[in-house]
């Protein structure tokens, strides 16, 4: 199973980006192989609208079945839930710390968007 993280960097020590739609990139971590890949989200940083929707589609296309991010708005959440991606909200810290928290079962899945659109 693959997990997507919103991040401002490009490795496991990089900080988790609290923004979802307009984060710099996604780190897609494969739990079976313990390998990861980076998918750029830069095209969404300048999107006039719908950044969260596009970012959600990127995550869905990566094959990830879970997303760990800071905050997720209602439209992105709608896309992710339609595709069966579980969303987890994690506090600030590194991707690695969030991954460990997930593995330890410390991150409860969210059942709805935790912020309004355009919150940041």
């Amino acid at each position: 199973m693959k997990i997507a993280f919103s991040t401002s960097g490009s490795n496991l020590d990089a900080p988790l980006d609290s923004r979802f739609g307009r984060c710099a990139s996604f780190l897609i971590y494969d739990l079976e192989t313990d390998q990861f890949e980076i998918i750029s989200n830069l095209q969404n940083l300048t999107a006039a609208q719908g950044a969260g929707i596009q970012a959600a589609e990127t995550v869905v296309r990566s094959g990830a079945q879970a997303l760990i991010t800071g905050h997720c708005g209602p439209k992105a959440f709608k896309v992710l839930s339609a595709a069966g991606v579980t969303v987890y909200n994690a506090a600030e810290g590194t991707v690695h710390a969030a991954l460990n928290a997930y593995k330890a079962g410390q991150l409860p899945p969210t059942s709805s968007a935790d912020v309004e659109g355009h919150w940041s």
């Binding site: 999107a47 006039a48 609208q49 719908g50 950044a51 929707i53 596009q54 959600a56 589609e57 869905v60 439209k75 709608k78 896309v79 992710l80 339609a82 595709a83 069966g84």
Partner: protein, 281 residues
């Protein structure tokens, strides 16, 4: 004759002047309240509500039995209003700009256009003034589609006054397009001047004749006038700051009927505007 009353800064007197100017004409006037996010011209006319029409835009609807998830629609949509998260497309109508492109590019004919309500147009009558008011539904993000439908009702042979929303964004540009004259209402303050400067740039971009009305004279300074002189923009009225005008506004009354001397000011303005429109025509 189509006159658009605009301003950069809010609260400079667009509505006050639109309503009072409409009442200064002896001929029939069409007054369009294009500030569809919070229309209020009707409060000062006290007219009779004649009718109400629902305005809708077209948005796509997905037939899940036909959609094969090919993503042609989402690749086409620059507004991210349609996306394919799984096997079928998902529409976000509030982001849709009703271009119809997704429907044309869909190879499966899985999309069709359906109506989505965005607001109302109300018609009021008060003496010789017929007021057309757009009112956007709460939660609808985009005002220009409603303003365009409202403007389809313009009868160009009549005297038409467009009361624009404040600012210089899309709803204002949509209101101003096609007008014969843009009147920029400002106040003689640094804020007024700052926003007037941006409004002038916008009107030049749309390429309309324009004139400035300085409202609330007596506050601030003369920088607005100096700016207009340097930019070669006529200042066609300087209206004194008068507490009685504000008091009437707060009671929902048109100052022209209640403040001595104000009718003469509005009639002078009316005649200058008429002359300016003739000159430009």
């Amino acid at each position: 004759m189509i006159i658009a009353m605009a301003s950069g800064k809010g609260g400079t007197g667009k509505t006050t002047l639109s309503v009072n100017l409409a009442k200064a004409f002896s001929q029939p006037v069409q007054l369009l309240d294009c500030d569809v996010e919070e229309p209020n011209d009707h409060l000062f006319l006290g007219g009779e509500l004649l009718n109400e029409t629902i305005v809708s835009v077209l948005v796509p609807e997905v037939d899940a039995s036909r959609c094969d998830g090919c993503r042609a629609c989402s690749a086409f949509c620059r507004y991210n209003a349609i996306i394919v998260p799984g096997k079928t497309a998902l529409v976000f109508p509030e982001l849709c700009h009703s271009c119809g492109g997704c429907i044309k590019v869909c190879p499966q004919n899985a999309l069709k256009e359906v109506e989505q309500r965005i607001g109302l147009i109300r018609t009021w009558r008060s003496g010789g003034i017929s007021l057309l008011q757009g009112q956007l539904d709460v939660g609808v993000a985009s005002a220009p589609p409603l303003i365009r439908v409202l403007k389809e009702r313009i009868e160009p042979d009549r005297i038409v006054i467009l009361d624009a929303p404040p600012g210089t964004s899309c709803p204002v540009v949509t209101t101003l397009r096609g007008a014969d004259l843009a009147l920029l209402v400002t106040e003689p303050t640094p804020f007024g001047l700052h926003d007037l400067t941006i409004a002038v740039e916008m009107v030049r971009e749309i390429n309309l004749p324009m004139a400035v009305i300085v409202n609330r004279m007596g506050i601030g300074d003369d920088r607005v006038q100096r700016f207009c002189q340097a930019e070669n923009i006529p200042v066609i009225a300087e209206i004194m700051d008068d507490r009685r005008i504000a008091e009437n506004y707060s009671r929902g009354l048109a100052a022209i009927d209640h403040v001595p001397g104000f009718r003469a000011v509005m009639i002078e303005l009316r005649d200058k505007i008429t002359a300016l429109c003739r000159k430009e025509a």
